[in-house]
């Protein structure tokens, strides 16, 4: 059977070379690096400007972290409540242990609706479960409708950024892709298409409009899911989300179980944190909130798929579970010096950058080389924690995961020292400057000190923030820690503190 949507290479991440090898390949791509540097610099400046406007930003971050922790520590309660409210509002709720189960639900519901295609709103959860390929194998075409996702899909490419998946492409590459590919899958781009961003956006508008108008089924993710009311929230810019969430008769929303929030009022905190942290706007152009089915307004057949797919693994780690606070804003990617140099593809996961380095190994485990190498894909400079709207202690988590990987592979062995220190040094210039930078950042107090100074205020939070068991004492860089831990040659030449 011939494919209905553009094929993608590489289809699956597992078995990919580990981060250092990927990083070397990506580093050699000068155009991508130039595109990335330009893009991350732009977005960093925008974020900084709108965050500095908010006087109580730190209180907001603390509130965001606390609301997420409250939810995660009582996740069973909130999920059961969410399910109950959804059902009362006329939605059908499905649960999926893993990617295969989630994909099967989407296939079954789509077939039951008599459809052989779906329109999609950009969603990290559906990328994570590789839904598009599962649908393709089932003879169902999945059309990405977010502009960047469209660029990626038509370019036979993979996303390299959470928020701007085509961040590695510049305007002339996008024009080429539209001219060559659009006509194969629907309405062709006009012959006189230029690389003006306005013209490119217009081409996408026309290409996708016919798909929106005829689609019977849409698939979305959700940024937030409110337990108290059964409300789902999608935050977007282009209106493709509104099209998908409104026009088709059947809507299937794939939601990671960690997306739930206790109350509708909690959205206040997250609708302030997310747009400023992600696109650097005071508010994103469009946000849709829906509560089950609503008569003749929007889809009548509303499905929600609650997906585990490794999240309960992360939840079981008392220190690691904070990774599930993540609201996928991508601020940590944009600020990361390693990400800026190697790009998203090097991480071998749909979640790139600092969040990917701590989330992926917790979702998938670290038996594969790529996953074992991810916690080492960082210089521990600490910038990611500073920008994270929900205060995920990414540097501490990296160290935590490094210890797990080391402990595991002491028995097996993956050539870890090379993996850890080799290419990161290359990425960042040379190993000596990397080490110097680490020491400098520790002395400047920027490196988070595990167990100290990062406790959430308030009596309720203290019980679990003080009980951490972390390997890295205060004021010690990874390099220093590594030398002690790994029984490597050179252990005796400890750098000065």
């Amino acid at each position: 059977m011939t494919r209905r949507t553009p094929d993608v290479a590489p289809v699956t991440w597992l078995g990919m070379p580990a981060f250092p090898a990927n990083a070397k390949v990506q580093l050699a791509n000068d155009r991508q690096r130039a595109n990335l540097t330009h893009a991350t610099r732009t977005i960093r400046a925008k974020r900084a400007a709108v965050v500095s406007e908010v006087d109580d930003w730190e209180q907001l971050r603390l509130a965001g972290a606390a609301i997420k922790d409250r939810t995660l520590r009582h996740l069973d309660t909130y999920l059961v409540e969410f399910e109950k409210k959804l059902k009362a509002a006329g939605a059908t709720v499905h649960w999926a242990r893993d990617a295969a189960e989630a994909n099967q639900v989407v296939i079954d519901v789509t077939r039951a609706a008599g459809a052989d295609e779906v329109v999609k709103v950009k969603s990290m959860a559906t990328q994570e479960i590789e839904l598009n390929e599962a649908l393709e194998e089932a003879g169902i075409a999945a059309w990405e409708t977010d502009l960047a996702e469209l660029i990626v899909q038509l370019g036979h490419d993979s996303p390299s950024h959470i928020l701007v998946p085509a961040i590695h492409r510049n305007r002339s590459e996008i024009r080429e892709i539209f001219l060559t590919e659009m006509g194969r899958y629907g309405r062709a781009a006009p012959d006189d298409l230029t690389d003006d961003p306005g013209r490119l956006a217009e081409a996408a508008r026309i290409h996708l409009r016919e798909k929106f108008l005829r689609a019977k089924v849409a698939v979305s993710g959700a940024n937030f899911a409110v337990a108290e009311t059964g409300t789902l929230v999608v935050v977007e810019s282009e209106g493709n989300g509104r099209m998908c969430l409104t026009l088709p008769e059947t809507l299937i929303t794939v939601v990671g179980i960690e997306k739930v929030l206790p109350t509708f009022a909690d959205l206040e905190v997250f609708l302030k944190l997310l747009p400023r942290s992600s696109t650097g706007e005071r508010m994103n152009p469009y946000t849709t909130m829906w509560t089950g089915a609503h008569g003749l307004d929007g889809p009548r057949d509303v499905h929600v798929v609650l997906v585990d797919n490794g999240r309960t693994n992360a939840l079981a780690d008392q220190f690691g579970r904070q990774v599930l606070r993540c609201i996928r804003c991508s601020a940590c990617l944009n600020i990361c010096p390693v990400y800026e140099r190697v790009g998203g593809h090097a991480y071998g996961s749909v979640y790139p950058g600092p969040i990917g380095a701590v989330l992926t190994p917790q979702l998938r485990g670290h038996t594969e080389a790529i996953d074992a190498s991810l916690p080492f894909a960082s210089s521990l400079c600490g910038a990611c924690f500073d920008v994270c709207p929900v205060r995920i202690e990414i540097p501490d988590l990296l160290v935590h995961l490094r210890r797990q990987v080391v402990d595991e592979h002491k028995r097996g062995g993956l050539g870890l020292e090379r993996l850890a220190m080799g290419v990161l040094g290359e990425v960042m210039g040379n190993p000596h400057s990397l080490r110097a930078a680490q020491i400098a950042s520790t002395l400047a107090g920027k490196l988070p000190i595990p167990g100290i100074g990062r406790k959430l205020p308030g009596p309720g939070a203290s019980a679990w923030t003080t009980s951490r068991d972390l390997p890295m004492p205060a004021a010690e860089t990874f390099t220093q820690w590594w030398r002690k831990r790994s029984d490597a040659p050179g252990t005796d030449e400890e750098p000065d503190r």
Binding site: T246, F264, P285, G460
Partner: protein, 217 residues
């Protein structure tokens, strides 16, 4: 075992360390919900922020509003306009003075392709936010179903000054009632836009490319 029971079981196993059963006591939250943001002039801030998104703001009093609806539609060359059945009659007539008007009845939604041939839509709104320049629709009868304010390329949205609050927290507080009655919400901050091409903001992708806010004092 069902997937549901297994996932809930995994969660309970993963959270064996959590001793306090009351979520609010287990993790204490230091946040005052629904607070206003102090500002000198809420309306001026709203206008400035909406214009920041390159949306057009037209100010009018109640008496001048119908004339402005006609004028805006004419200025944008709209020839076919859709309005929800619950829109005040005077506004509907004002639209009719500029273009052909289709009144959508709540029980008889227009087919997609018919809606797609219409230039413009006129709606009311529920609440607006000054600090972020956001307008929220809760799709009550004076706003129509969601597709109505989405498919046509020009959206004229009437905002009453009395419905403008300072910040997100106040708005969320007011919208709780709409959500409790299962109404969908659409939050609109400027015309549709994308930053997907080299992170340059381009106005106008799939949603209305032109947003005109008629601010009524």
């Amino acid at each position: 075992m069902s997937a549901r029971d297994e996932i809930l079981g995994r969660i309970r196993g993963a959270l064996a360390d959590v001793g306090e059963p009351d979520p609010a006591r287990d993790v204490v939250l230091d946040w005052n919900y629904g607070q206003p943001l102090p500002m000198d002039d809420v309306i001026a801030r709203f206008v400035q922020r909406v214009e920041d998104y390159r949306a057009e703001v037209v100010r009018a009093d109640e008496a001048a509003l119908p004339g402005q609806i006609t004028a805006v539609l004419q200025r944008h060359g709209a020839t076919a306009v859709v309005v929800p059945a619950g829109l005040p009659e005077a506004w509907r007539d004002a639209a009719g003075a500029a273009a052909d008007v289709v009144v959508e009845q709540r029980r008889q939604p227009l087919p997609h392709d018919e809606l797609n041939r219409i230039d413009a839509v006129v709606t009311a709104s529920r609440v607006s936010i000054a600090e972020t320049g956001t307008i929220v629709l809760d799709h009550a009868p004076d706003q129509g179903r969601r597709a109505l304010s989405l498919v046509p390329d020009l959206h004229l949205c009437v905002v009453r000054e009395g419905d403008v609050v300072s910040d997100v927290g106040e708005a969320v507080g007011l919208l709780g009632i709409s959500v409790a009655s299962h109404r969908p919400l659409t939050w609109i901050s400027g015309p549709s836009a994308t930053s997907d091409i080299e992170l340059n903001r381009v106005e106008g992708v799939h949603g209305p490319r032109t947003l005109v806010v008629l601010l009524v004092g």
